[in-house]
Symmetry: C2
C-alpha cells in the first residue's frame, strides 16, 4: 500500500518485520524494479547496500530505490553513507563496523531520519541505544549459502538484546523461513535477508514466505 | 593567525592562494601536527584526502585537521565526503569525477559550507558555477614526479576558466614555485599542491616558498 504521510518513519519501522538488503542492480530501472517488487510484496524496510558503485551512481540508484519503495509504503535506508541518504531523501542510514559513529551520522541525517547500527555484542548494542540509534542489526546468526562468516553471534547475546534493548532488532545472517521459530524462541521477531530474497527465483514469493513464517511466530 | 569568526568562509576562500592536499597521516596526532605546520606557514586552504582509511578513522583525522587548521585561520575541506565534512565541522567538501554532484552535496553540507569541484574541461567548469560550487580545482597542469597523468589540461581551458568563470580556481598537477609565472600568464593565481609540500624535507618552508613565488606573480 502507498505510504501514509501521517505515519512517521519510526512508527513504520516498528511495523517492519522483514528488512531486505538489495544491491544497486545493473541500472536505475533494474534497481527500481527490484525494489518495487520487494516493497509491493510487503517488506517494510529495504537497505540499499552496494560498495561497488561510485558515489554519483549510488546516488542515482538510491533515488530510484526511494521512489519505488515509497509507492508501496516501504522504508529505504542506505548502507554506510549518511550523505547519500540525505541527498536521495531516503529514510535513513545503516552503519556497521568502521562506518561513522551513530552520533556523527546523526549530525548529517538529522533527527527525522533513521539510523540503524550493526551490533556484534551486547556492549555494541547498549552503546547504539545510548547514542539513540533507531534500530539494530544483530548477527551473524546462522551459516549462509552465499557468505562465509568467521564466527556467529552467541545465543545469549541475541536473547539479551531481545529482552533488554528497547530497539527494533533485525536478526541477520543465514536467515531462512525455517529458522524463524528458533529466533522467535530467543525473542527475536524481526529478520534481515539479502540473497534469501534477491537471489530467489521469485523474490516477491520469497518475501511472502518470510512474512507467512513471521506471522506464525508472533 | 587564528581564525577570525567575523570573516566568512567565502571571504577566507577568496584570500587563499595555496591549497595543500594532505592525507590522514599515521595517527590523529600526526595528522594534527602536519596540518598545524602547513596552516601556521600560511596555507589558506587544506584538503584532507585519504581513500585508504575507514570512515570512522577518517572522521577522527578530519576532526583533528579541522582543529589544527582553525587555530591558524586555515580552511579545511574533505575530499569526496560531504557527510564527513558535516560530522567533523569542516569548512566544506571537495568533489571530483564520480563523486556526488554539487547539488546533491549541497543538500548535505548546507549553504554555509564550501563546495569545491574538480573540472577537466570548460563545460565542467561552467556546470560547477551554475550549480553554485564555491571554487574549482583545474588540471592536471604539468607532469608530476609523484603521479602519472594520462593527459593534461589544455592551456586554452585554463585561460578560459581564469577569464570567464567567476570562481576561485586552483591549478593542480605538478605545480612547483618555478611554474607559477606560466600559470600567472594564463591568469591563474591560485594553486593546489600535494607532495610538493607534504613530501618536502620541510613542509613549512615549502609553503613559504610557494607563497613567496605567488606574491611575485600577482
Amino acid at each position: 500500500m502507498p505510504q501514509n504521510p501521517l505515519i512517521s518513519r519510526r512508527e513504520r519501522l516498528v511495523s517492519a518485520r522483514l528488512c531486505v538488503l538489495v544491491d544497486g542492480g545493473s541500472s536505475v530501472a533494474a534497481c527500481a524494479e527490484q525494489v518495487a517488487a520487494i516493497a509491493a510484496a510487503g517488506a517494510g524496510l529495504i537497505q540499499l547496500r552496494d560498495k561497488s558503485l561510485d558515489d554519483a551512481t549510488l546516488l542515482e540508484r538510491a533515488i530510484a530505490a526511494v521512489g519505488a519503495a515509497r509507492r508501496h509504503g516501504a522504508l529505504v535506508v542506505i548502507n554506510d553513507r549518511p550523505d547519500i541518504a540525505v541527498a536521495a531523501a531516503a529514510d535513513g542510514v545503516h552503519l556497521g563496523a568502521g562506518d561513522l559513529p551513530v552520533l556523527a551520522a546523526r549530525r548529517v541525517v538529522g533527527s527525522a531520519r533513521l539510523i540503524g547500527r550493526t551490533a556484534h555484542c551486547f556492549a555494541e548494542a547498549t552503546a547504539a541505544m545510548a547514542d539513540a540509534a533507531d534500530y539494530l542489526g544483530i548477527g551473524p546468526c546462522f551459516p549462509s549459502d552465499t557468505k562465509t562468516f568467521a564466527s556467529f553471534a552467541p545465543r545469549d547475546f541475541l536473547q539479551a538484546v531481545a529482552a533488554e534493548i528497547a530497539l527494533p532488532a533485525f536478526a541477520i545472517g543465514g536467515i531462512t523461513p525455517q529458522r524463524l521459530p528458533e529466533l522467535a524462541a530467543l525473542g527475536l521477531t524481526r529478520v534481515a535477508v539479502a540473497a534469501g530474497v534477491t537471489k530467489a527465483p521469485d523474490p516477491a514469493a520469497a518475501v511472502a514466505a518470510f512474512h507467512d513464517a513471521l506471522s506464525r511466530t508472533s
